[in-house]
Symmetry: C2
Subunit: 394 residues, 2 copies
């Protein structure tokens, strides 16, 4: 593994700060000037943006990632997930309906993409230890990729209620050091940073929190490149995305922007829809109010674990992507999420509660006319059904 | 969907009976003469045995399946699973170690391959209703593919202990009619056949039990074609396979035989290893005794649900494949399965208890010298970790 020679810099998403990739001597965190997320910038030739089908998994996109020469067996089973039409639900919704199935990733969710790159980038820049607070899937993925590289245990902090959960068990299986604090990921994160104050300040541990380092965004970006490549000249009109921290939404948009910058835009890019739970909807609230940043809310709790994210450090980037794509943001009820979970299973395309929220959102957006009949709509089913099916009455 | 024009017949695996594919007017079950499994035979040109990379999932192999023109969205996310090296464990085992990751299939296991084809073949031959007894994953897969085609509820019978299990919940999510009977799949099957005696006899319901119809074998066969294609000129020396009913093992061997018959053999085919639990090892027992058929045993129960199969109607086919490939059969202890489950997770390649049994088997076969150092060994990790991780202490 080494840095991609095409990587030029990490540029702040909010201020003018730019850190040259040549000068790096340690892992990259938040912007040292304004403490907002950094994002990778590359000098990309057109041929870098074409998937390498002779490679497996995430390595197909190495030429647009910050690190190249990923080790054999490290991310061969990450990404390259199927997109498929959903003919059973398309007619009643009046849509050309598609699903991207992220549940086939090794830990069962799209989080594998971001954490595979986040861990690899940190290691290339000298790190050996990682930490993160998690609502579940991100911690599982960070634990897996730490295990794959034989690193010291990943320090994972989960909300107190997660003790004994499938997320906890999976992190432990992959050798993580699992701790519990707070009621949600924001509180877990605060506890983690207090506990690891010194090693974090000394750069001995890399904080893999959403957008706290630039690798996860680059990994999630591969979803956008895959969608753009798979749909070719008939891109989706809308991509509907369950939004917690928003890495995937910002990542998908970054992919379309990098394609456009290289003169490879596949036509009008899709309009992005951010879906949240009514009980924790800071992005929807900020979008509706026309704000430039996302203000933290107090979560009232949601069954969709990945949506229980009351603050978004990259809120400005999420809102910018929604507006630039002429998209929207919508909140759905817990009842609608549960109903959509059952409906998607009964129609043969199972998903997690977060994925189900996108189906619930499409039902809303069809009813209110935001999405016209006949639109090509892609739902991001970000995780499989295995974790949440255990919480359903049978 | 329609029958593959290259399909010639369904031939008995045990007697001389052959049913022409042209004369079919109803779903195909066991051999009407000797009640042993039937297997599909084709007239295959060489170009039929090359994957269609422009197609998705199982449809890449339509030209070697009994049905073609699979509906869009039906099996796009089935199969085409990654194979990857496992560098963290390879050195200590002294092997060139590889894993095929079947957990990425839509219900999380390799069962999706067989049931996708079994259900589709039954429908093409006129069926609308299906039933099967299950240790878990097969029932989940049958339920999913029934849902995808909008069929009446699949009739699934599970051992009594499975009430409320993740398997039960998943089948219910996909709309199945789930019943409970007996202590294992054999007892569940007997109860199912008693309850459905008349509709089964009248051909109103198709019995999807392992090897009771020829579609599942054809679906599982795709694993063999994928392995042969992915490894090219450097095939595995050994393929290590967790063996319950044995559909996958017989299917993998059928793929290598069909390649050889078409003049496309990729060199010496891999030697097959059937792995079972010491507590339910009818195949291992029959192999050691040099028998031609597998005699039923009384299971003492195993944590590896998919291995809790005390009888094998295709035992003669399993034993023939093991011998023809110069392979072997090995039983592993429950303790070794549990240890391998933890070891594989800690080394970053999670799997189910069944998959873990293959790692335990390789440890045994290295110790006793059956597999020499430096061999290229492929483990079939037939399911993901999600179901079994909930049974592990953390």
């Amino acid at each position: 593994m080494r840095l991609n020679p095409a990587l030029q810099s990490f540029a702040c998403s909010a201020c003018e700060h730019v850190a040259s990739a040549l000068a790096l001597t340690a892992p990259v965190g938040l912007c040292p000037r304004c403490h907002k997320p950094l994002a990778a910038r590359y000098a990309l030739r057109q041929d870098a943006l074409v998937p390498r089908h002779e490679r497996a998994g995430l390595a197909r996109w190495e030429s647009v990632l910050p690190i190249v020469e990923l080790p054999a067996g490290y991310a061969d089973d990450v990404g390259a997930t199927p997109v498929a039409p959903w003919p059973r639900l398309a007619p009643e919704l009046g849509l050309d309906l598609w699903v991207k199935h992220e549940g086939g990733n090794p830990t069962g969710s799209f989080k594998d993409r971001g954490l595979a790159v986040g861990v690899a980038l940190g290691v290339v820049l000298g790190a050996r230890r990682f930490c993160l607070p998690t609502q579940g899937n991100a911690g599982v993925a960070a634990s897996l990729f730490s295990a794959r590289l034989g690193l010291p245990p990943c320090h994972v902090v989960m909300p107190l209620a997660w003790r004994g959960s499938p997320y906890h068990r999976a992190c432990a299986l992959f050798g993580a050091d699992v701790r519990f604090a707070g009621a949600n990921v924001a509180e877990a994160g605060r506890a983690m940073r207090e506990a690891l104050d010194r090693p974090l300040a000394a750069g001995e541990v890399v904080d893999l929190s959403t957008f706290f380092e630039p690798g996860r965004l680059e990994g999630k970006k591969t979803m956008g490149f895959e969608i753009a490549a798979d749909f070719g000249r008939a891109q989706p009109d809308w991509i509907v995305y369950p939004t917690g921290g928003g890495t995937g939404l910002v990542g998908i948009w970054k992919a379309y922007e990098e394609l456009a910058a290289a003169g490879l835009s596949p036509g009008t890019p899709p309009r992005l829809v951010a879906v949240q739970s009514e009980r924790c909807a800071p992005v929807v609230e900020a979008f509706r109010r026309g704000l430039a940043v996302v203000e933290p809310v107090t979560s009232r709790g949601t069954a969709a674990d990945g949506l229980d994210v009351p603050a978004a450090i990259m809120g400005h980037g999420i809102l910018a992507a929604l507006r630039a794509s002429r998209g929207t943001a919508v909140a759905v009820s817990e009842e609608a999420i549960a109903a959509a979970f059952r409906r998607s299973g009964a129609a043969g395309v199972p998903t997690s509660f977060e994925g189900a929220a996108t189906l619930a959102a499409v039902e809303t957006l069809r009813r209110d006319g935001t999405i016209p009949a006949g639109s090509r709509v892609l739902l991001l089913f970000t995780a499989g059904f295995a974790t949440h099916v255990s919480r359903v009455e049978v």
